[in-house]
Symmetry: C2
Subunit: 347 residues, 2 copies
């Protein structure tokens, strides 16, 4: 009979592997679970040496999460839930505000390559060196760098971006919009799943014979004065010679941009949603708790964090993970579209 593994202990004690891990790392678990785990360890003659052998060499029980910033509530919430889940599994979380900068991300990829951290969850803005990252358990959010599923230590967690773009287009078209705008921002690296938002949106509009234009506002994810000014200038130029705003529907690739568009159009005397409808993407709520701040395609942030954390721990423990996990989106009403009572299921 081979030496018992941590899984054998978990099975024998009727607890999760995470609970056994926490007992081994002297972290808090319910007293009764601790008793059961300790008793199973004794009964199976499971030793820390056995345990250590089964783990990656030099495991640090530290992982990193790389996001552009914590100012955008979407990223802050993502890190929040990721930390809650990882800490419950005995891992500590390093946080990196990359500010979309490759040099800031590189520090963490380097740490992972050197086994100073066990893995990374990232919304990356780097062109990753495939040879290096092959070694690192790496969960990419919204980036599918391995469409053929060949990389052992790489997976992607994302939402159904294509469906989100479709939903936005169908809502605007159904409300009678004739001349719509897609205002995009964020990464344009190969494999960026969020590009599907615009692809789907424009495709649905085109099939419906609706005029649709795409405008690119760069990779910035958090607003600075210069970004807001760019949006303002663009909107100001979008009035025709008769002073009429050219668009009756706007889809933005992030809620933050939708909020700015809403504010700037209101300043120009345009009523939202009567004259122009706006749909964002993310599903942010007032103070992350109350009402949706704009009509939006909502991402399941908590579930994305859970899937990312779960996949990372599985890869660290050499378990199989799904290479691409796509989570559902839904349309939510936030006062910038006309028909509050319409159901998602309509489309």
């Amino acid at each position: 009979m081979s030496d018992p593994t941590i899984k054998d202990v978990a099975k024998d004690a009727c607890v999760s592997v995470g609970t056994v891990s926490k007992v081994l790392h002297n972290q808090y678990v319910k007293p009764e679970n601790r008793r059961r785990v300790e008793s199973s360890i004794k009964r199976l003659n499971y030793t820390v040496n056995t345990y250590a052998r089964g783990l990656r060499e030099k495991q640090t029980f530290t992982v990193a999460v790389v996001v552009p910033d914590l100012i955008n509530p979407f990223f802050a919430e993502l890190v929040h839930y990721t930390e809650l889940i990882l800490s419950s599994m005995g891992y500590r979380l390093l946080v990196c505000n990359s500010q979309c900068r490759q040099d800031r991300e590189a520090v963490y990829f380097q740490m992972a390559v050197q086994n100073k951290i066990d893995g990374i969850i990232a919304i990356t803005y780097s062109i990753l060196n495939q040879r290096k990252i092959r070694k690192i358990p790496l969960v990419l959010i919204d980036r599918n760098l391995d469409p053929e599923g060949k990389e052992e230590n790489l997976c992607c967690v994302t939402c159904d971006n294509y469906r989100g773009g479709e939903l936005a287009a169908k809502h605007l078209i159904s409300d009678g919009c004739q001349n719509v705008l897609y205002l995009r921002n964020g990464s344009t690296l190969l494999g960026t799943e969020t590009l599907k938002r615009g692809k789907a949106f424009l495709s649905v509009c085109s099939k419906a014979g609706i005029r649709a234009k795409e405008v690119d506002f760069g990779q910035e994810t958090t607003l600075k004065d210069e970004n807001v000014n760019t949006i303002r200038d663009f909107l100001k130029k979008s009035f025709d010679e008769n002073g009429r705003f050219q668009y009756d529907g706007i889809f933005t690739s992030s809620d933050i941009h939708a909020v700015i568009v809403k504010r700037e159009l209101k300043r120009e005397g345009i009523s939202i949603p009567e004259q122009v409808e706006i749909i964002g993407f993310d599903g942010l709520r007032e103070l992350n708790y109350g009402d949706y701040i704009v009509s939006s395609i909502a991402q399941p942030i908590r579930e994305i964090a859970m899937e990312a954390a779960d996949s990372l721990i599985k890869m660290i423990n050499h378990e199989h993970v799904q290479r691409v996990k796509v989570l559902p989106v839904k349309f939510v009403e936030g006062g910038t579209t006309k028909f509050a009572t319409r159901l998602n299921s309509q489309f």
Copy 2:
């Protein structure tokens, strides 16, 4: 002549100690600064051994920031700026959402005691064991556990909470409020600086002969349904037999609570600020960028993060720090008070 220190190198190269540290840790600095530092290292015959001797034994260049959560934008912003500053000084940041739970905080205090991390910045909800923490470089935000300034490795960074409470009271009184409410939440541990908000508020009201009542909504900092329900129930009970709301001014110890109060009162048909004025605390903006979400006493979040990071690194390097650092607050207008044009300087 004694061996050169990192300070000597910094002085010789006309750069900050942080820049030298970054060069030593192979992080990005401007090419010209790198050249200057490298040249000074050579000229002074400064060696890494010298450097290592000056540092704490087993320095990990990892510090932890402990906050209740990242859902409240105040905490998310605080962690955001802390990470930016610490990473620029060659440190990595572990993030812990304590959820105000002592067992979750304890993991990090334990790590620091065991030299697995170099120091902690915390908004703590634990009764800290003085003997243990004496060993750990520890920056407490809003907690002054050492009023006599005797602890070597402990300091407090906070805003001028007393002044904030005064400002809120003076604004409400100046607007003619006669019957005001202080709605508090958060820590009540000994040394909690935020308690001064209510103390000052009630004192100014009392001196002005204004009726003022304090209500405690517990230590929760982030809203869950149950907290919102408690606030709603309290407000519903605050109507007299003629259906008149009893208070004409409300000061809350956090903006999140002010937003809930505003929403719930509006639902009861009360117009804000005409019938009831509301002043929060923190100075949160829409999406952390736009307008203030309620009238508030604004904290300088970025400066608090900078002071906290700076103090922590100084303590890690055995440099002197100010034991209590109090940063200024200001009243900001967010639509829930009557006179938008009034100046802070009036009070």
